[in-house]
Symmetry: C2
Subunit: 341 residues, 2 copies
Amino acid sequence: MDRPAGRRPTVKDVAKLAGVSQGTVSNALSGMRGVDPVTRQRIDQAVAQLGYVPNLAARRMRTGMTHAIAVMTSMPAAVSAGSSRLGFLMEIAASAAIHALEHNSALVLVPPVADPATALRNVAMDGAIIIEPQRDDAFLSLLRQRGLPTVVIGQPAQDDLPWIDMHYSETAEMLLSHLLQQGSRRIALIIGASQRVSQGITEQVYHAQMQRFGIAPRVIRVPEAEGEEGAYRVTRALLQQDPGLDGIFAPVDAFASGVMRALREEGRAVPGEVRVVTRYDGLRAREERPALTAANLHLDQVAAMATRVLMDLIAGREIAHCTKGPSPSLVIRDSSAVQGG
Amino acid sequence: MDRPAGRRPTVKDVAKLAGVSQGTVSNALSGMRGVDPVTRQRIDQAVAQLGYVPNLAARRMRTGMTHAIAVMTSMPAAVSAGSSRLGFLMEIAASAAIHALEHNSALVLVPPVADPATALRNVAMDGAIIIEPQRDDAFLSLLRQRGLPTVVIGQPAQDDLPWIDMHYSETAEMLLSHLLQQGSRRIALIIGASQRVSQGITEQVYHAQMQRFGIAPRVIRVPEAEGEEGAYRVTRALLQQDPGLDGIFAPVDAFASGVMRALREEGRAVPGEVRVVTRYDGLRAREERPALTAANLHLDQVAAMATRVLMDLIAGREIAHCTKGPSPSLVIRDSSAVQGG
DNA sequence: CGCCTTGAGTAAAACGTTTTAAAGGTCGAG
DNA sequence: CTCGACCTTTAAAACGTTTTACTCAAGGCG
């Protein structure tokens, strides 16, 4: 493999060495068209000798394909930053990267930043996976504007985009049923104030369950931007106001952290006096003391599905508008165990 | 913004509408050369009207710049897969993504896969961050072969690549001193069998410390590929053979999990009878019961440094051969607390 | 034998941008 | 008035690949 000094060898160099035209080299390497076996062998040899590696940028410009997909979320930094939601994003990214590679594509990570427009300006991609977009999501509208194939993990607010169903209502039911089964009878829901699909559905399920058990509903909305701190504040107020509370459902794990801190400082025993559950089983849920009961959302499988659907979409294959993700499973931890359990 | 049906507007369309040449448009948009303010305004208006977005592939082919960097590791799957080491990789990737974006670059995630060659074939990048490479690292040799700027997180085995010092010896000293200070006097080191720089240094530090305290060293090597299971096996054997053991240092967190399981099944109290510490403070360390004392390696800062150095390297700026990362800090958890602490 | 099809190969165009070489114009100094 | 310096603008080249349109030869079939 002797490289012509300075310059990387091109298809032209290979063609010259093999004594054929550029077109034939292209056909031999990646081409659909037939090439005589003996010619192909000459070309292969030239490639090996020169150490030729195709220039991806040139190929991509010519074909229009980027061979890269992106993963992004527009969660506000207060809930997505640090180790909490970032875990959510990263679990999905890791799995998507592996599966993208199986389709000869790279995965680029678009971090949650203040300015989505500049973030996307420098990222080339064939399509995107967007995680739990909100109504009027900035990333989503940019993607639409560029006409990029997009798959939603979670549920789209109003769009007709293909999506992976994460079973929002099933998850909420599972966690609430667990609280009820453990004996909680005055259960509060602490939820984000934004217009997110997951929150709407969770709230609906909560109201239905409370009504079934004849429990007065107690919904507290926290602006997402206030994150853990906001949840801490409202929980302290809530505990003063309603001392008989014996269960809290805080789907956002950053909120759950705030809830736990409030309970500690109010001197309430968990799970003795108050049981707490959250949704995403990430670092926060596991590190809390007592550790939080949560749902295993099987994000690796969800991401694998999203990647496959996106690849189908990009390739122009037929796709299902909605793909059912794996059902969540309950991870019972100390924060909701029956007394003495 | 009225797009000429079907085709995305190009610089040529903008030029025509603004009544100037392509070159002037290019100069106005990204160019270094002067453009008359009034002309520039006409061009800006044309851009807005057409909704022009530069074709990144074309730009990249022309300039030779990809505006993307990659993060990769070649840790064997047994220790890097699942939530343990993957956490390590992802913590770095998340931080690198944010900082890459500040330099107008995307971050692509190269997952640890069986075949590095095919993994890299489809990834275009200006440079790479490689995490704790081993001797004769497959990724590393591919990067070298393609002549790509590379920064090592950890320490390179024999290469002259720029690297971010993660303070291997300082970390090992800190964790061992902690064990000694907590009263442990028969301390075993359970470490990977491979030729990794971090392991060599850790072992050296261990021997020095043991000698200083007049303790007979006890080093057990586990093939990395055996992961948690391997560590479990050797620890059970170790406990039978040396019942007086009162401290275990297992730098690899997957090994620490195996160690804890062995201790449980042998009925040894942690930290009562045996104290355990590990290195990377990830999901595994926090989720273990009792939770493991570990080192906060400040991976976000390490990744930020690596990204900056890589960007300097790509831009051809002067760089330091070795950059000191942040000093690790001790995170004391129950697995090493003094009795009754 | 004549005609059509097929297969292998080639030269040149095309992709959309940035860069280069050159040209036109203005302005000030001599 | 002339010359050079400087600024703006342009036409065309260049980047490295894939695709297109075409040629040429060989072979099958009537």
